[in-house]
Subunit: 390 residues, 4 copies
Amino acid sequence: MTRADPIPRNRDNDYSKEQAALRCEFIREKTGAILETVSAYPIDPAVTQGNIENFIGTAQVPLGLAGPLRIRGEHAKGDFYVPLATTEGTLVASYSRGMRAISESGGVKTTVVKHSMQRAPVFLFEDALQARDFGGWLKSHLDRIREVAESTTSSGKLNEIEQYPVANMLYTRFCYTTGDAAGQNMTGKATFVACEWLKKNHPLKPDYILSGAIDTDKKHSAMNLIQTRGKRVIAEFTLKEAVAHELLRVDPKSLYRYRQIAAVGSIQSGSAYSGAHSANGLAALFIATGQDAANVAESHAGITYGQLLENGDYYWSVTLPAVICATHGGGTGLPSQRECLEVLGCYGAGKADKFAEVVAAVVLAGDVSLTSAVLAGDWVSSHETHGRNR
Amino acid sequence: MTRADPIPRNRDNDYSKEQAALRCEFIREKTGAILETVSAYPIDPAVTQGNIENFIGTAQVPLGLAGPLRIRGEHAKGDFYVPLATTEGTLVASYSRGMRAISESGGVKTTVVKHSMQRAPVFLFEDALQARDFGGWLKSHLDRIREVAESTTSSGKLNEIEQYPVANMLYTRFCYTTGDAAGQNMTGKATFVACEWLKKNHPLKPDYILSGAIDTDKKHSAMNLIQTRGKRVIAEFTLKEAVAHELLRVDPKSLYRYRQIAAVGSIQSGSAYSGAHSANGLAALFIATGQDAANVAESHAGITYGQLLENGDYYWSVTLPAVICATHGGGTGLPSQRECLEVLGCYGAGKADKFAEVVAAVVLAGDVSLTSAVLAGDWVSSHETHGRNR
Amino acid sequence: MTRADPIPRNRDNDYSKEQAALRCEFIREKTGAILETVSAYPIDPAVTQGNIENFIGTAQVPLGLAGPLRIRGEHAKGDFYVPLATTEGTLVASYSRGMRAISESGGVKTTVVKHSMQRAPVFLFEDALQARDFGGWLKSHLDRIREVAESTTSSGKLNEIEQYPVANMLYTRFCYTTGDAAGQNMTGKATFVACEWLKKNHPLKPDYILSGAIDTDKKHSAMNLIQTRGKRVIAEFTLKEAVAHELLRVDPKSLYRYRQIAAVGSIQSGSAYSGAHSANGLAALFIATGQDAANVAESHAGITYGQLLENGDYYWSVTLPAVICATHGGGTGLPSQRECLEVLGCYGAGKADKFAEVVAAVVLAGDVSLTSAVLAGDWVSSHETHGRNR
Amino acid sequence: MTRADPIPRNRDNDYSKEQAALRCEFIREKTGAILETVSAYPIDPAVTQGNIENFIGTAQVPLGLAGPLRIRGEHAKGDFYVPLATTEGTLVASYSRGMRAISESGGVKTTVVKHSMQRAPVFLFEDALQARDFGGWLKSHLDRIREVAESTTSSGKLNEIEQYPVANMLYTRFCYTTGDAAGQNMTGKATFVACEWLKKNHPLKPDYILSGAIDTDKKHSAMNLIQTRGKRVIAEFTLKEAVAHELLRVDPKSLYRYRQIAAVGSIQSGSAYSGAHSANGLAALFIATGQDAANVAESHAGITYGQLLENGDYYWSVTLPAVICATHGGGTGLPSQRECLEVLGCYGAGKADKFAEVVAAVVLAGDVSLTSAVLAGDWVSSHETHGRNR
């Protein structure tokens, strides 16, 4: 068995146009593929250091503008134009329609109700009793552990250590607030240092593994839905009956009835999101603004709740328990990504909650449009069958 | 309440550089944000028609090259270099390391074991008995329904109609194979036509809604894990003990033991993926190749299974029950996206299963690297504490 | 370490009053406990052979009579008086109240919509490809496998073999109808023989384990909710507005609104049953009638669905996807258990579906009563606070 | 529509032999069923007051004795003989076999690691912001709320109030320790009084519903698995290799390998219990000892974890996160039930943790036996095919 050739790297400076071109040429030789557009990037490769390795160029993801979306949040206030990066036709148009329905109904309220980003070490013991007692020790030494963990970060704060004893192990979640960063690395480092301190200072010197797989990083989980991961954000608005009829061509009563049917469908299928399609808006907004798109896995979870009001309007909300987002660090500072954050007034320090509110508002807008389309389509189909054929 | 200004559109030709520039200027006026890099796209806006609305430019997502990855699949065979679009530093390097461990162990076997893409109408009846009997009628008329549904598509094939009766409703999943397309639209249209036919031809003329929320499109679900959505793909390889030690600095025994601990963590947390981080590789590969990144929500679900072998090697596999991907349609034909598919030899007709195999192989590579890092880090930390300080 | 004394057994006849008394005496010596009531059983120990080992007497579980409950099912028709064995005060009274609300509203429709009892062997292979191909072989040889499996039973019928490939294994569910028996043993034997035949006749002679843990016997699972285990049964009725007001002191509008709130609670908590308390009625009815009470674990799963009707009445239903019950075999023939089945007209051959319908109807009655009590309590509390105390 | 006759009741004294006989006679007239054994109860009907309504007699559930089971818990210490009430043949024998394997391996350690019984009111607000701020108020007024709640009970202690904001609502779980009672009623009353106090004293006078359906009473839930309901109990022991071979006819290596396969099956099926059959032992023990058998729904949830040790022995544990049990109140004081608790030395005050430990130990014993039987059966079947038939 011969080994395939390694990808060319340059130890001195791997983030140059030349080096990227070298790799593209390597690919052309190996696969015949010509990376013409990939290579035609308008950015300086040097700025991608820390965000990518073996840089060859950029993926050109089409950006569309949705909105305006009127938000009346704690942090996000005003009319927003939202850049969405997607290749799914109609997505931008559909979200725009939902935004219009929301705006014409008076706007959406948005609220961040909890912050909690985790790293989740598991501690190993001889038996369950040791594990339980270690848990007690964790509680009584929380202040000291917090001090140790927070010594590694300027913005991370250790709020609590959740405990889940199983067998002779103690699974934990170290829960932090992380300022304007998403916080996976920050919490990883802080927790590592705390664990090392625990290993040294607890009488049993317990072995541990830095991830007991309950973080649950880059994956949906019941635990995230229950305990929150990142930010728990709620968006809610009251759809005016007239807007429903005229713009969305649905009746609030149908929306309400469908909510029952969809909730049952959600329970029957065990789905992570009980609304229409959070992931679409999340992915498009995350790619545009330099968020980690893998976090769509966690962030798309959520619960939709509606209520038909006495006056015929329809209260509509979405609760997202695991929004992972940042306005600082990660990909947020890259050129096009930063520009998109700036469109939202969400770049940099002190903007993370504002951005999280925008995220939830966008998700709600997408659900408003798609749900209505599904129902109006039903009406259309009824119309076609029973109307013209009569 | 005054309305915010609408986004400028051009009814005649909305996909021109001028129109995009107009919108960027509009944004500058409204928000102050200057879309310099967003506007510096190297593609013709005209090619984005059908993929985006209100085009303003492109998101520049850094592309890195990982590999080589030796795959010994049914459709994917050979050494692959994998373009990954991400802004998460170390991701490309880490996946590359996992690919090397796999390749040096002889490569990864990949198998697509099931195809099933759905649209999921719910039919409404007076009582459960009617719903059940309608279900019987569906079964006995499947050939005719198939004929109707397939009349709308050249590549979609209706395989079966799953039935889930609840209350006085019949929730169904119309399950298709969809050729090289992901198939959401194809199955939507085919199912709509089939439903209209059912409504006309079944004695009860049943009302229906085209989505009963069990598709479960753009969201993770237990149903997807059980019944498959898109493609169910398995990647498996045997990690050689020597490679584990030398390249990954872990012992297969530790990997095996950790598998137990992580499986328990996965059960305790109710996570959608029992391995390390499928979503990272999926998102990066999906963005690079013009897949719908929102499908990370569904596709990241999966089950990891390992086995310590008598000879000290470690069998390692990942089963992904809901890989949604395409090599035709959607964003696959856009310039940079097509180039990336071509790097993999996966562009166009007859390539979807090959690409799905690459997807699973990449996910496995990422897990190999991260899992080992978590464990070696444990070892490292032990070393730091117990080694140098002695 | 000395061993504790073994429980006295009699190899010749272990099911006599003498032998039971001997064991009670043994217990008195070892623990001081005097089994006076346990020993005062009115049945012949000989009849318990096949149902218990080391017989010492009987648990005296109080039986109360609930009803009448008007059922308008396919198999259960008429007014039923329902024996419930429980030690939870108010349970019988509460179920009776729900039954009255149902009966006064015209009775409950009940429908068994699916039968499927499983044994779930897992087959082990070298790789996923072998496992997948074995799955194809299973499909093409289903008739022969059915013949083999059904050779072991007079009433069991093998309907299908569900397949769930993971890693290099094929998890399967052999799905049967089992006549009037619950069928765990029947399906176990039939599947074992089928597996042995497969192992002998398939070219690969695949190893297997008779349970791959997806049966999922004596435990709740998403798979049961989706695929059915035992019987999937639906009970539904329309609560008349007047009955709601007068008997239950709730308004259908409140019930409907609460349905939304409880559905959200169910999704938030990931609960196995989205109604009020199926397990109470199930346990009480199962113990009374000689069902396996452990099956409450599976059978309590379900979905509640309600709809407010134009005329102010409230459509209320419960769907139970995993009712495990029998009117033949198991504990059904024991003296008090048989008598209770006879009260329902459900003893013996051809009665299982009728009994399953009664089960679902009883569950619905319990939910009607408790849900209303929760809401009326809310009203009461409001009344206390805002009414009389003012 | 004529109404069916009501069940005869006696307002003055409904708990007499005469009144029970009257109802049995009523049943004979209505259904033809003769309640001979049901009527031959050896207890005084008067003692069932508070446990049943419309008393007609008792269900005679066969009791078998399993054991001895050596327990080395915190509270349960020594060799236990365990009364099990069941109608499933072989259950007692199988549990006894598992108990023997445990005892011969040195006994089982048992640990109660958490206490938390809930009532879960939901509070209703205008918007999410109000709900969130109310949550903050709850935290800052916890001491006062605790005082109010605990004023209603001598043994209940309010530990914390978990918060789950969704939409414009705050779902909560009031978490208590409840002494030797299961505590559903105690926590219901205490929480009701606390809610009334909140409604009166919080500036917004918030509406609430006493159950927002996340208790999750009498039903399995992810929330119970994560947050505990009742008692979280762990049982663990090390199966000696020799005992495995000689008594159970399995090899620890096979047990360990099967653990992987069953864990995958558990994840694939989304099952509530990742071991073999907790519900069997729970139901039998609960019925025998006057527990609420409906709680099998919650209590059967759990996680199995095993580890192959260097010396060839096998560490085996089960973690039960939602054991609901009592040694005081409910059905525990009824004659046969009390006798069975006395056999275990678990009747009355101060015994609840001891009893919970016995529960977990019994569950583990059942899994040891059944799991081994499944695997040895595999071996047996191999033997039959490949051995004698050759």
